[in-house]
Symmetry: C2
Subunit: 216 residues, 2 copies
Amino acid sequence: MVSGVEQMELTSASLAALEKNIRTNLINSLSGFKAANLVGTIDAKGQTNLAVFSSAVHIGAHPPLQGLVFRPDSVSRHTFENIVETGVYTLNHINRDIYSQAHQTAARYDKDISEFDATGLTAEFVKGFAAPYVKEAVIQVGMEYREHHRLEINGTILLIGEVIAVRCPRHVMAADGFLDLESAGTLAIGGLDSYHQTCRLARMSYAKPDKPPRKL
Amino acid sequence: MVSGVEQMELTSASLAALEKNIRTNLINSLSGFKAANLVGTIDAKGQTNLAVFSSAVHIGAHPPLQGLVFRPDSVSRHTFENIVETGVYTLNHINRDIYSQAHQTAARYDKDISEFDATGLTAEFVKGFAAPYVKEAVIQVGMEYREHHRLEINGTILLIGEVIAVRCPRHVMAADGFLDLESAGTLAIGGLDSYHQTCRLARMSYAKPDKPPRKL
């Protein structure tokens, strides 16, 4: 703990005693900053869906896999059902120009209302791929569903998909493959509702035991 | 896709054809910004370990659960073994003052060398809890191991723990439970090696279908 400021320490008992909404906000803040994505899907009848997700997580590069955590019985169930039904979905990075609309996709719209229509974001279709991208997103990722795991501990679902398309401006990708998310305007999310731009401190070189840390 | 700049589109075939390190950097960038944490552990003999993780993910608030993704056979295997062995670990948010040392913990040190000693970060112990916190971290989270799942698709492991302690300055927590990660100096990670400060655009109010998006 840092000194010089008043500290607090919450134990299991004090966490359990918190009012439910307060605990939800607090626990959602503990992992740190989160990825800010819009997940685009479509059902078998052609009804599109768009939902903000802060739970995207890297699973592996060879093959290229990304995970998404779904809360049980949440507003995101339409997204989950569509992915399993059609086998495809998109990840679209949220940027400064669209974060307000992106957040609004979390509202509990009826299934027959597309969040694209409700929020004014634009569905962009690519030939041969059923799921809609978000046209306003600078970085777009096409995904194919692979598998999902239900976590018995609380009923959440970890869904895993394979990256089958990466679409972004050419200048965003560095020679070593690194995507400059900051130059693309990608935001980070804090807690359930806080949207943040970023400011790079440094890229660090590959860490080795016999060398001090160095900036790239 | 945005117009006015040269775009690129990588397909499955072009992704598979990329040189391995380039693909690793690229795919690690696709989920968006990631949480920046140091995970502190100890083995049954009292040997401490500290490792940078960008894969922390919120699993649920009731009970309060956080997940960590482990790559198979990676440098993080000591962390995984220690968590299963002792049942406890810590999450410590990486801030501006320690990101260089935090990154250095990714170096492949022998198991008998503590990354605390190697990097100059300070192990902080709390009575009744075996795992070390990082004293220099502003936000510290005490965790108890609950379960893990091996993902057959690529051998990665999703480990789930329950939050049993939250330690931070009192001013960081808002009245509604939200932790102001930005005021605590918590960083975000892009790709494998890029460390970023944040700048808040807004907190957004709870989204409802019949109301336009509003800032808090």
